[in-house]
Symmetry: C2
């Protein structure tokens, strides 16, 4: 494998004279690709018999014959009629969802043809604030591909209903806009806040617009009436939360980009792409993205190649689908002079593809350098050193014991009517259930027969020792066990779900010990552990290892009786106090239908 | 008519909260348009039953029902099913070609639906340098429509072959890029210089790229080989000099925008648009423009409405042609969040159109204000005061006499073989002719029988008193006469063409007197005069008056025997020492095939 140090290509304007020399034949190129089929995302054509000449990490010449750019030192590759496709862009995504670092994410997705990513480090921001954003920003800069950072806009997601590890405001946004690698504002999830002109939202968007950057959107509602129009007028420029063709149409008509999402658990391309394939809308304002991918998806199914393949399977012309994953994204973020096409001056990010509709990627080049071949990295990327403070974020303040999970019953009662969070398989919303719970020795007892066990939100940012206890139904645990996770959207405290309070204490303490992650304990025995020491969110190991550990966790959950799809994700979303109906936060139970705190007992 | 003072709308980010209030119905709009057919350049659709709500000069709501935005003070207009079209953009043009000020140009074109212009004040720059650019930049800012300025890149056009009134270099470019209303670099005409890495070209382009602005191109050659590829690699982002479909295709494939031009004398749309209508290229990278329009064209035929109409007549779908005159240009200049569409937040520039294919424009709105109706301005624009120094640019240094135009013959000769500039009707290039000229009294005599008369280049920037005399053929003058013009591309000295040296002297002196323009004298009598006191290039009168005077000039030229098409333009291009074959400059005769100075006598 080649060296692990990557120098960023110098700007086009510094290298223009060199590129001109190569294009005109006065200077040999470093690399020439001969006889490819140029997938031209500007013209929408596929042009056979194309040569590319590359120097200083950029395309110098793209045309029928680059013989004049070949000299003694030029490496010449015969594309033998295969397709030359621009490197793929993921226009909106969260690295943290892969439970790995930016470096590991890149290692996993480069072989799948992704050479540009627009990442929103929203999760680490909730734990470490602006410092966390900066860490991922700096790691992103060290990559051999283009990783642009969107400044998280909604930290916390639900002010007043949860206590994150840190908060961000408009001053932080203004500061981040001065950083080299900030491409815009991350998804403005507080859509009711935008429509209501909440000052923080107005100010953050204004700071982004003043800086000439792109304001990312997130309008997670089927309401296309005045609230939607208010959101658009407030400034967000894209949206990836649409699910229906009418959502995509509405967004594009308003001058937004419709970002169509195919993530590990998001399947929003097929319906929405009908806006193009059936309603005939101009495809230029449609963009593909993943939003969230687990490491398992990356390792087993792919990344943007998977999305493009899927989009083609929905009836898009391959060139159109590729435009949606390249030029359209580049134009949206105003960097089409850098990425998103095979054209002179641009960064030489491209794929050699042997089957276009199947997107069979033989080679992946970025910045003119071969990074992957036949699905395997050929250039190694050094691990990025995260500082100690980023790995010491699980602060429990004490060893927890089983009694920390006691739920005291009302004085003298034999049973009590309680609110129970009801998990719904394959859906993000929960149900706000009410159930009669038994009481034993003055404490609320779990009701395994009715699949009701305990859930606890353990404060972990400020070592307050606070534990909020409540009830949950739907996991189907049949054995004494407990699962704890410091991935607990969006404030990322620790969620512990268990049928056994001793196991709950053990699980929580274990995560305190390893600095965060996910653990499953049954009768004192550790069935699975995924260590996520970076901010309690990300592994510092290889993506393959993280994926393996995550797979082991899923298997272990089945072993103790849970066979929900995406059970781990369901677990991690139980504190997401922006999605109805009932959730838990460090401040108590929250009814997300009314955005109000409620008591455990009815 | 309404008031003449126009306040620029405040930036979107300052008005976002107001727009959101209007969009959601919490605050009434200033203006609501009801029941239009929304020509949606984002989706490519035409959407019947659309309402628009407008406030603070911007669209707040675009959708099916703006009732909720109507309050007591709201003006409500019924579009009665007519089309709502974004205001048209001219993506590249020179105001000076209209021989009027920016103000007068706007007065002329607003009724034709043009609400955004990208102007390159290349001509005034050759006379007044950066000061001249600044004057037009500031005048542009005072307009009720959007006039963005491209910083001229090639002043002089032909360094070493002519002496302009001023020069611009990369330091001037860097300075201009800090001005509020500079949108990019004007057409980089020195295309051999770009391909050859001439330091000034490289540096000017680099300054523009560093500033994140758009580099305008001008590649006036049919050669699509390495020289073309070198030009693209050097950085220019568009080109309007293509004439063949293959030119447009080549540019778009390289990631440039193909600007298709229909000016007073340019007819480059019909051929090149076949790249879309016949070859099926993605139309998003095609843009319409005029480049040069005389006041007569503006007054009689129109402006961008004429271009769009023509493009539709070539077989484009109306929406596609409109995209090429709106959104495509806005995206190219990276200001699609401001102009180029009817969408929330954008400036409320739009047309109410009763017939889409014929582009029959009933009303023109810009910044939410009605500016023109049924082809007539309804909001007056105050004349912009140009300072005295901009009007004192014709410096002859002396009264000229007939003898200043004497061409001394070689000692003792009876006739002499001389180079003669051969005008070609309807073409910009000239022929380098050689003819035997008679000699009378030791002076070269004119040869009316063979249509050869005299041409003189009179220095007018530095009062040197220098007169370069030579010969020209092709105007067809049959009477004793002389025509002088201070519009003399690109250095804009004074060109005098005459069959009579006394008239030549009178004509030159007359322009000295009035501060520049065009004059036709015959036997001492002034047949026509177009005063152009601003830099010797632009009238300070109304466009209608300038057009009338220009028409009178054309008629007078016919009267003395010249019936060339565009005879005045032919006259004004005779010093354009960048277009082959033979031209005159203040430094002598120039053979533009070799870019060398040549003697009059062979």
């Amino acid at each position: 494998m080649s060296s692990a140090r990557f120098n960023k290509p110098r700007p086009w304007h510094e290298m223009a004279a060199t590129l001109v020399d190569v294009a005109t034949g006065r200077r040999p190129a470093e690399l020439v690709i001969r006889n490819g089929r140029w997938v031209n995302v500007y013209s929408g054509e596929i042009i056979a018999g194309t040569d590319l000449a590359i120097t200083a990490g950029r395309f110098a010449y793209c045309g029928p014959d680059a013989s004049h750019a070949i000299g003694e030192g030029t490496q010449v590759i015969d594309a033998a009629g295969r397709y030359l496709v621009p490197g793929l862009c993921d226009a909106h995504m969260h690295v943290e969802s892969g439970m790995v670092t930016v470096t590991e994410f890149c290692r996993a997705v480069i072989p799948h043809g992704t050479t540009s990513m627009f990442i929103d480090p929203h999760e680490i921001a909730n734990v470490l604030g602006l410092k966390g954003v900066r860490l991922m920003h700096d790691e992103a800069m060290a990559m051999p591909v283009n990783v642009h950072v969107q400044m998280p806009s909604c930290v916390p997601s639900a002010p007043g209903l949860e206590t994150p590890g840190a908060t961000l405001d408009e001053k932080d946004v203004a500061e981040a806009m001065t950083w080299e690698n900030i491409i815009g504002l991350g998804e403005v999830m507080n859509f009711p806040g935008v429509s209501a002109n909440e000052p923080k939202m107005v100010a953050e968007i204004a700071e982004t617009m003043k800086a000439g950057r792109t304001v990312g959107g997130h309008y997670a509602s089927p309401d296309l009436g005045p609230a939607f129009h208010g959101y658009v007028a407030g400034g967000p420029e894209d949206d990836h939360e649409g699910t229906r063709a009418e959502d995509a149409i509405a967004r594009v008509r308003q001058g937004m980009r419709a970002m169509l999402r195919l993530g590990s658990a998001w399947y929003d391309v097929a319906e929405q792409v009908k806006a193009v394939t059936e309603s005939g809308l101009d495809p230029r304002n449609f963009i593909l993205c993943t939003d969230d991918c687990h490491s398992g998806t990356l390792v087993e199914e792919g990344h943007m190649d998977r999305v493009v393949r899927h989009a083609i399977a929905q009836g898009l012309k391959p060139v159109t689908a590729i435009q949606m994953a390249t030029l359209n994204a580049a134009q949206h973020f105003k960097i089409e002079r850098e990425i998103g096409s095979i054209a002179p001056g641009r960064l030489a990010d491209f794929l050699i593809v042997s089957d276009l509709a199947a997107l069979a990627i033989d080679q992946v080049y970025a910045h003119g350098r071969l990074l992957a071949e036949h699905g395997r990295l050929v250039a190694e990327i050094e691990p990025y050193p995260y500082p100690a403070e980023a790995k010491q974020t699980v602060k429990l303040g004490k060893q927890l014991g089983a009694t920390d999970f006691d739920i005291k019953a009302p004085e003298g009662a034999n049973s009590v009517r309680a609110r129970v969070i009801g998990v719904i398989e394959n859906q993000a919303p929960t149900r706000a259930l009410e159930m009669d719970m038994p009481i034993e020795n003055g404490l609320v007892a779990m009701d395994g027969a009715n699949d009701v066990c305990q859930i606890a939100l353990v404060e972990r940012h400020r070592a307050t020792g606070s534990v909020v206890n409540a009830l949950v139904s739907g996991f189907g645990y049949k054995k004494p066990c407990a699962m704890a996770s410091t991935v607990a959207h969006d404030s990322h405290h620790m969620i512990v779900v268990g049928t056994n309070k001793a196991d709950m204490a053990l699980a929580a303490n274990r995560l305190g010990e390893v600095g965060g992650g996910v653990v499953l304990i049954s009768e004192g025995r550790e069935l699975a552990l995924v260590e996520l020491p970076i901010a309690g969110l990300m592994s510092d190991e290889r993506a393959e290892i993280a994926a393996e550990k995550a797979a082991k966790l899923t298997a272990a959950m089945r072993e103790v009786g849970c066979d929900l799809n995406n059970a781990y994700m369901q677990h991690s979303l139980l504190a997401l106090v922006v999605i109805p109906e009932l959730r838990i936060s460090d401040q108590g139970l929250v009814d997300v239908r009314t955005f109000e705190r409620v008591e455990l007992f009815v």
